[in-house]
């Protein structure tokens, strides 16, 4: 019991250097575990972007590409899914529900997606959460639009606002003859839904009736009212989300779609493809973990340097301990114990910083980056990390402790200052 008391008092007597060392360790530990939390949080949020959808279908291309444009609205489809194919798939007995996705237009930098009203019931994220309206209602009229939370926030939209959809993704030609009315604003989800303008599939068809190959057909202007009288069945959609009646049928249906003879199609399991996509990003993730591990190592080396630099000054302390009967091993143990105490305090303070930071900032992180950080008890992996920091501290401390051991043997009784 003497050693811990001595180690503690000795640390207290050097509280400034010791405090700074502990602070450095705690920051590094908080950083490391924070990166760990953000990483798992980002991964989970990413995987949470879409759930409860069994298959996503589009024209044949890469699976990751299909996922990127259909769910993340990144990039473009090279081909469409014809309405006939869509109908064929919808008619399959395994299909419980199917929701079309029609992309291609934009509104002031945000993608416009044509879909059915069922989308608002079927789209789930974060393990089964549904979409909610923050304001207003779903689209009802042909020229109604529902906007995501980011769209509303960035453009300052409220319900009943008039908006105009632009043709294509980066063009100056607008469908200004057929303006939309914002019928509702969605609550924030932290998914690409927040950055999307939703209109009905028919509306997409309606604004394109007098267009062909990306340009207005000269002299064939169809007015907004006239278009309501027309047959607005689309010729094609970009992709479709599918729910099956039973999970067991997913693979059968996937195979059927991939072997569809009329047209080359691709069906993917969103969860699997999300994982593939994450693996691509995983390199950066590993680098991040590596860098923060280096920061921890740096803090521990700083501690070793601090112990080393204190040795000369503490020579007499060691001579005194030797004179009253301490073994050289006791002196080694004392120094290692001090290092262990500093590391333990550093780890504890680091945890306090981390959880304090999480409590303070997680709302903001969710809002700004769409990364939802769960506050849970330290995971087994985190406990391992903490244990590893302590072991590393012990190992690192052995260098100065061994030096002290040697000194206490060679100094004899002479108290050298």
């Amino acid at each position: 019991m003497l050693l811990p008391a001595l180690a503690w008092q000795s640390l207290l007597s050097r509280r400034i250097t010791v405090g700074l060392t502990i602070f450095a360790i705690s920051l590094s530990v908080a950083l490391f575990l924070g990166v760990e939390k953000v990483r798992t949080g980002a991964k989970a949020s990413f995987a949470d972007t879409i759930s409860d959808t069994d298959l996503i279908v589009g024209a044949r291309s890469g699976g990751v590409q299909l996922l990127l444009y259909s769910v993340f609205r990144v990039g473009n489809a090279t081909n469409n899914l014809t309405w006939e194919s869509y109908q064929d798939i919808a008619a399959r007995p395994e299909v419980e529900w199917i929701v079309p996705i029609s992309l291609g237009d934009s509104h002031r930098g945000f993608r416009v997606m044509g879909t059915s009203a069922e989308f608002f019931d079927r789209y789930k994220y974060r393990g089964g959460r549904g979409l909610e309206m923050a304001e207003g209602a779903r689209f009802d009229d042909l020229f109604d639009a529902v906007v995501g939370a980011d769209v509303a926030a960035e453009l300052g939209y409220r319900t009943d606002q008039q908006i105009v959809v632009a043709h294509g993704l980066a063009s100056f030609t607008e469908h200004d003859d057929k303006p939309f009315r914002v019928s509702g604003v969605l609550a924030r989800t932290g998914t690409p839904v927040d950055r999307t303008v939703f209109v009905s599939l028919e509306a997409i068809e309606a604004i394109h009736v007098d267009w062909k190959n990306g340009a207005r057909i000269p002299g064939q202007q169809v007015g907004a009212d006239a278009v309501r009288q027309m047959e607005l069945t689309p010729g094609a959609v970009t992709a479709a989300m599918i729910g099956t009646t039973s999970r067991l049928q997913i693979f059968g249906l996937q195979r059927w779609i991939n072997d569809y003879p009329e047209e080359p199609l691709l069906a993917i399991l969103p969860g699997v493809t999300l994982q593939e996509l994450w693996d691509l990003i995983g390199v950066a993730e590993t680098a991040l973990v590596g860098v923060s591990a280096m920061v921890v190592a740096t803090a521990l080396l700083g501690m070793a340097a601090m112990i080393f630099s204190g040795l000369a000054e503490r020579r007499r302390e060691m001579a005194i301990l030797r004179a009253v009967g301490a073994r050289p091993w006791t002196i080694l143990a004392l120094l290692s114990l001090e290092a262990l105490l500093m590391a333990a305090l550093g780890v504890l303070l680091g945890m306090a910083l981390l959880y304090g930071g999480l409590f303070a900032f997680r709302g903001w992180i969710d809002d700004s980056f769409g990364i939802y950080l769960r506050i849970t008890a330290p995971s087994l992996r985190e406990l391992w990390v903490m244990g590893l920091v302590l072991v590393a501290a012990l190992v690192v401390s052995l260098a100065p402790a061994w030096r002290a051991y040697r000194m206490s043997l060679s100094d004899g009784m002479t108290v050298r200052v």
């Binding site: 003497l2 001595l6 008092q9 005194i320 004179a323 009253v324 009967g325 073994r327 004899g412 009784m413």
Partner: protein, 245 residues
């Protein structure tokens, strides 16, 4: 193995001598060319010996050997009837804790601990010595009281806050607590002014006498030798060789 060895028994008292050095030889490891040789040196039990010697002649080195902090290259060191060479290194450390109280020239105390904690320090390395003291705290205060220190100074302050004279008295109490057989003092008064030196020595000697302890003190100041039983110069018992370090 445990047969009584007649050479250890002092004829007069029938008890072993406090210190007995024979054909001792020691050199510091490393490049220093300092060598110390002691053909024979004995200190009787309860004797108070004053060892004179100029600076650098090896007084502290000799004390290190007697305390078993360093081991001689040749010859034997016997303290209280025990040959230190027969003990393992940990046993030697324990032996020192149990039987020897040490006072240095200065910087005797752990600066971050209280004087009281400093006084109790050897007891935690010496269970037997600890057992002789029923109430360590009371005993520590009794000793410091006898050495002229106020209780609140001993229990309250940090050791580093004491004056040098006060620190030396705390160091004396630490050496005396639990009544070790041998008190070794390495110029304990040289950091004190002349007026205090005598007073400190008187206190130290009175307490050592009261405990029946043997006292070996080294100094280069012959004026302090007054109350000792025996005064000798290091050169009378030892040959030292000194070269360029």
């Amino acid at each position: 193995m445990a047969q009584p060895d007649m050479t250890r028994i002092e004829a007069a008292g029938g008890r072993p001598e406090a210190i007995r050095l024979e054909t001792l030889r020691f050199a510091w490891p490393g490049r220093t060319s300092f060598r110390l040789e002691v053909p024979e040196f004995r200190v009787g039990r309860g004797e108070k010996v004053f060892l004179l010697g100029e600076s650098g002649t090896g007084k502290s080195t000799l004390l290190s050997l007697i305390c078993g902090i360093n081991a001689p290259d040749r010859g034997s060191v016997m303290v209280d009837g025990t040959a230190l060479a027969d003990l393992s290194a940990p046993a030697r450390d324990r032996f020192r804790a149990e039987r020897i109280g040490v006072i240095f020239q200065m910087f005797n105390l752990l600066p971050y601990a209280s004087p009281l904690e400093n006084i109790l320090l050897p007891l935690s390395f010496a269970p037997d010595r600890r057992r002789r003291v029923t109430d360590p705290r009371a005993e520590a205060l009794r000793l410091t009281g006898a050495l002229g220190l106020q209780d609140d100074l001993v229990t309250g302050a940090r050791a580093a806050e004491l004056s040098i004279g006060q620190q030396q008295r705390v160091a004396a109490a630490r050496a005396l607590i639990g009544a070790p057989a041998l008190i070794v003092a390495d110029e304990p008064t040289s950091a004190l002014d002349t007026a205090r030196q005598g007073a400190f020595l008187d206190l130290l000697m009175t307490q050592a006498e009261a405990q029946g302890a043997t006292l070996l003190m080294v100094s280069h100041d012959a004026r302090l030798s007054g109350r000792f039983d025996r005064v000798l110069d290091l050169s009378e018992i030892a040959m030292t060789t000194r070269g360029a370090g």
